[in-house]
């Protein structure tokens, strides 16, 4: 629900004074209006009470008791009922308005962009739906020079944070959106909002400050030593830029090698729950020695060699071929591997193929050599290929 106030009451300067910024979403504007509404009730009640107080003290001061000190009623039921019921009536709309605003801040739309947020003493981490984490240049939040995460959310799209903590209780607080929620270990809490204003770092010539700087994020639940340094910056960017950026941000540091990326994929994407890398038995076939082996499948292929193309196809669409047991031609393993099409990016794919290759003795040396390239170098090549337009896509690793 969005209520509005008469402009004479909801003046912009009042909001600017009490919030120091203009709310960045419609719910924030609703909260501001409610705040200003309560503020006026406060001011009117307080001024009335104090006028009476000061008037009585002046008029009935002891120095004037010869004339003004008189008997008056010691109680008056209608009056007392009035001043019990009127405040009650005044509070009903405040309660109701607060309730609708609360419900609005809690119930995220179905189509929200979901971002996972982890709180840990004393740092916030964000994970996007493709597994990416912010890697942009970090900014300073406090004078202490504390480096904090700078993450992005898309403009004009509902954004839902799904939050949990890995140690103590924190609270994710975005003052500009006028909302916060505790971040609790062992359970998920969520908050959402609808960003409607682009972050704009161009300098306003009048104030000398950025027109619309990134939103500050604080931890609002006391969490120990560096509680006051546990912040983040959040920028609102156009959807296109958002999509491009999170595609570029994977959660792999730029300095690690492609082989390491493959190893990380093995654990992060959950491959490790079915595929061992040391030859031990598990739910799925082990990766040790897989590359270069020949197998038969339910789709009729027999003695098919496991190579790069095979691996790529089977990771993306795992249900196409089901491995048959060598002895009895029956299905050898449960057919429960997820389909990874759309779940894994090119970097991860190349990394994991190299990693699997490195687990076969024959291809170990070649894979390790090819896997020396770092994520940074990989990105540079990718960028060069894109800009050059003519350059061929990253060359497939040489066959053994």
């Amino acid at each position: 629900m969005t209520m509005t106030l008469p402009t004479t009451l909801g003046q912009q300067w009042l909001k600017e004074y009490f919030f120091s910024s203009i709310g960045a979403s419609s719910q924030a504007a609703d909260t501001e209006n409610l705040f200003i509404y309560i503020l006026w009730i406060n001011i009117i009640s307080f001024v009335l009470l104090m006028i009476l107080l000061v008037y009585f003290v002046a008029k009935f001061h002891r120095s004037k008791q010869a004339t003004n000190y008189q008997v008056s009623a010691a109680h008056n039921t209608p009056l007392e009922l009035t001043w019990s019921i009127v405040p009650l009536l005044v509070m009903i709309p405040i309660f109701y308005w607060g309730f609708t605003g609360f419900a609005d801040k809690l119930a995220a739309p179905q189509d929200s962009e979901e971002i996972t947020i982890k709180g840990k003493q004393w740092k916030w981490s964000m994970f996007y739906r493709n597994g990416a984490s912010p890697q942009s240049d970090e900014m300073e939040l406090l004078h202490t020079g504390q480096k904090v995460t700078h993450f992005i959310v898309p403009l004009n799209r509902p954004v839902k944070f799904i939050m949990s903590s890995s140690d103590v209780i924190h609270a994710f607080y975005v003052p500009d959106f006028r909302t916060k929620m505790d971040v609790i270990p062992n359970r998920y809490t969520s908050m959402w909002f609808y960003p409607q204003k682009l972050t704009d770092m161009t300098i306003n010539p009048i104030t000398g400050k950025p027109k619309n700087p990134p939103h500050k994020v604080y931890c609002a639940e006391y969490c120990g030593q560096d509680h006051s340094e546990m912040g983040a910056y959040m920028s609102v960017v156009p959807v296109k830029e958002y999509e491009d950026t999170i595609r570029q941000w994977t959660d792999y540091p730029k300095t690690i090698t492609l082989l390491k990326v493959g190893e990380a994929v093995w654990s992060r994407k959950g491959c490790n729950s079915c595929h061992s890398v040391d030859g031990s038995k598990s739910t799925g076939p082990t990766w040790k020695g897989m590359y270069g082996a020949k197998h038969s499948y339910t789709n009729g292929e027999s003695d098919k060699l496991v190579d790069e193309n095979w691996l790529r196809r089977n990771i993306l669409y795992s249900q196409e071929r089901i491995l048959l047991h060598e002895d009895d031609n029956k299905v050898a393993y449960p057919t429960s591997m997820p389909i990874f099409a759309g779940q894994i990016n090119e970097l991860e794919m190349e990394g994991v193929i190299l990693y699997i290759k490195s687990l076969s003795d024959a291809t170990k040396a070649a894979a390790e050599n090819a896997g020396k390239i770092t994520v940074q170098e990989y990105r540079d090549k990718e960028k060069a290929a894109k800009e050059g337009g003519t350059a061929a896509p990253a060359a497939p690793p040489a066959k053994p």
Partner: protein, 593 residues
């Protein structure tokens, strides 16, 4: 009342011979007399001294906190070198370049301020000191119902304080006064100081229960002949309401703190999420006590207000019954609003119910304010120090109460929760309410307690400093809070700097005000004029029937109540100076309350 000095001496008087040698007989005997006393007045005075000492200690912590926050820590890079400009703690605790260390000092100081002020000062403040001293006097009794239990509660308080001080000297704790799990069960692992501090709070709870139980029984059984429930001074009603909450709510915190100690020591997995426990459960348990206890803190403050306003205006309290019933209403409703401390915990739908009930509890509090202002109407209002405090209370408590509307409203609380707005709100209620009433009450009953008058000039100067200092300290915090400054921050961004500076200057002004009061009181004890039995012209029993200071057994004869506590329309208080008190109309038309 000069008859009072006939065969009984003042309770403060030395009972031995006049020629006893000081060091060998007089001093040890005096100490023993006080340490073993079961006289509610002496116990009240001992509590008063202890609480004021703790108030000083907690206040100094607040001064450290404010000093620390005057400037933020800054790190700048000058010619490629990182230069740390520390705030106060950083400069004076020798932490060098280490900002984390300075944050840790801040966190410990902030926690100690909270723990000391809540558990050692404001919960026992009015009931244990003024309540102990005045409750029997006001209802015409010789003592409380269980005098020995009363002495025990004092010693339990002392033991609790010793545990708190042990924790303090061994490094203090950094959990915040709310001891939220799982932080409180993980921090300072391997040290006993958290356990000591929690044990202190646990033990202090028993002191609180003993006092509460004692008062409930005293009010029920020991009222003087002729004093019905609605002939009791409203101070007694307030203390009674608080005592009921103390007895019913304190066991819950006792159990909770015990569970927390077990969790820390034996890792039983009730609150620890790593073992399947629920950290939010602790918050529910904690606030199930700590919210009612907010009213243990404020009801006695409201109780003092009744006596000061009625005496200060020489009028019956307007709507006596409404005030009495609102006391009970507050005590009752206080048990079902704890959830409003958890609005942002998980976003539960139950928050809606708690929000509604929270608004409901505002009504009886508002009714009291209206009644007091109506009491002033056609009165004869004096501006003695204590009545200035009563009027200041109306000012500050109105702000404290009204700003509660922001926090009770769910959508706004999502923004304001755990910011400085909350800090300002509860300081306006707890300090602007309870402590202001407490300081006013000490001024009001000082002549009765110690038989000496104090300098009104000293008192007024102190009051002005406290009033200005208080508002300067806490009003900017409302603005900071609504602008988004989270609480319990050792450090902050530049945009809040001005407000923090104002707030810190206010804290120094407050300190100056309290020190002025201290000097005034010490001067009064050393050189104050002898107090008449009823210097303010009040009608409650402690003023009309007892001398200043009261004799050991309070009254020469058991008083018989012949008029109401605020029957200024019909009765001229005894010991009023000739011509000072004017009744402008015949007593026959007096209206009964």
């Amino acid at each position: 009342m000069s008859a009072g000095y006939g065969h009984h001496g003042s309770y403060l008087e030395y009972k031995g011979g006049h020629n006893d040698p000081f060091w060998t007989v007089k001093l040890p005997r005096t100490i023993w007399d006080w340490a073993s006393t079961i006289d509610h007045k002496k116990i009240g005075v001992m509590y008063l001294c202890a609480i004021l000492f703790m108030f000083f200690l907690g206040g100094m912590m607040a001064i450290f906190v404010r000093t620390e926050l005057f400037n933020p820590n800054t790190v700048t890079t000058i010619a490629g070198k990182t230069v740390v400009a520390h705030n106060w703690i950083g400069q004076h605790m020798g932490v060098g370049e280490n900002i984390a260390k300075s944050n840790e000092y801040y966190n410990r100081t902030m926690t100690l301020h909270g723990v000391i002020m809540v558990f050692l000062v404001i919960v026992p403040s009015v009931p244990a000191s003024l309540g102990n001293f005045l409750l029997p006097l006001m209802i015409g009794a010789k003592d409380v119902a269980f005098p020995r239990l009363n002495l025990l509660s004092w010693y339990v308080y002392l033991v609790g304080s010793i545990f708190a001080v042990m924790s303090l000297v061994s490094g203090g704790v950094d959990t915040g006064w709310t001891f939220y799990t799982p932080y409180s069960t993980m921090t300072d692992d391997g040290y006993l100081r958290v356990v000591w501090m929690v044990t202190a709070a646990f033990i202090l709870g028993f002191s609180s229960i003993f006092t509460g139980l004692n008062f409930v029984v005293t009010v029920h059984k020991l009222r003087a002949p002729g004093m019905g429930w609605f002939d009791m001074p409203l101070f007694v009603w307030g203390i009674y309401g608080a005592a009921i909450i103390q007895v019913l709510a304190t066991p819950v915190i006792g159990i909770t703190l015990l569970l927390m100690i077990f969790e820390r020591t034996f890792h039983i997995g009730i609150f620890d999420p790593r073992m399947g426990g629920d950290p939010v459960l602790f918050q529910h348990f904690f606030w199930f006590y700590s919210h009612p206890v907010v009213y243990v803190m404020i009801l006695p403050g409201l109780a003092i207000m009744n006596e000061m306003i009625a005496t200060g205006a020489r009028k019956p309290i307007f709507g006596y019954r409404a005030v009495a019933f609102s006391t009970l209403a507050i005590a009752g409703i206080s048990f079902i609003v704890w959830g409003h401390h958890l609005f942002t915990s998980e976003g539960e739908v139950a928050a809606v119910v708690f929000s509604a009930i929270t608004f409901l509890v505002a009504i009886p509090s508002a009714v009291k304010i209206f009644n007091w202002i109506a009491t002033l109407y056609k009165g004869s209002i004096c501006l003695n120090t204590w009545n200035l405090y009563a009027l200041a209370f109306l000012f500050l408590f109105s702000i404290g109460g009204l700003t509660g509307l922001f926090l009770g409203s769910l959508a706004v609380d999502m923004h304001l929760h755990d910011t400085y707005f909350v800090v300002a709100h509860f300081h306006y209620v707890m300090m602007g309410g309870t402590i202001i009433a407490f300081i006013g009450g000490i001024h009001f009953w000082w002549p009765k307690m110690f038989g000496k008058m104090y300098s009104e000039i000293g008192g007024t100067i102190g009051f002005v400093l406290v009033f200005i200092g208080f508002n300067l300290t806490f009003f900017p915090q409302f603005v900071m809070g609504s602008q988004g400054m989270p609480r319990r921050y050792a450090n902050y961004v530049e945009e809040y700097h001005l407000y923090h500076m104002l707030s810190t200057m206010g804290a120094y002004t407050l300190l100056a005000g309290f020190l002025t009061h201290l000097v005034t009181f010490l001067h009064s004890l050393a050189a104050g004029k002898k107090a008449p039995p009823n210097p303010w012209g009040s009608l409650t029993l402690e003023w009309t029937n007892a001398s200043s200071p009261p004799i050991e057994h309070n009254f020469d004869h058991e008083p018989v109540v012949v008029h109401g506590p605020y029957d200024y329309d019909n009765v001229i208080p005894p010991q009023t100076k000739p011509g000072e008190f004017v009744l402008p109309r015949p007593a026959a038309v007096a209206i009964q309350h």
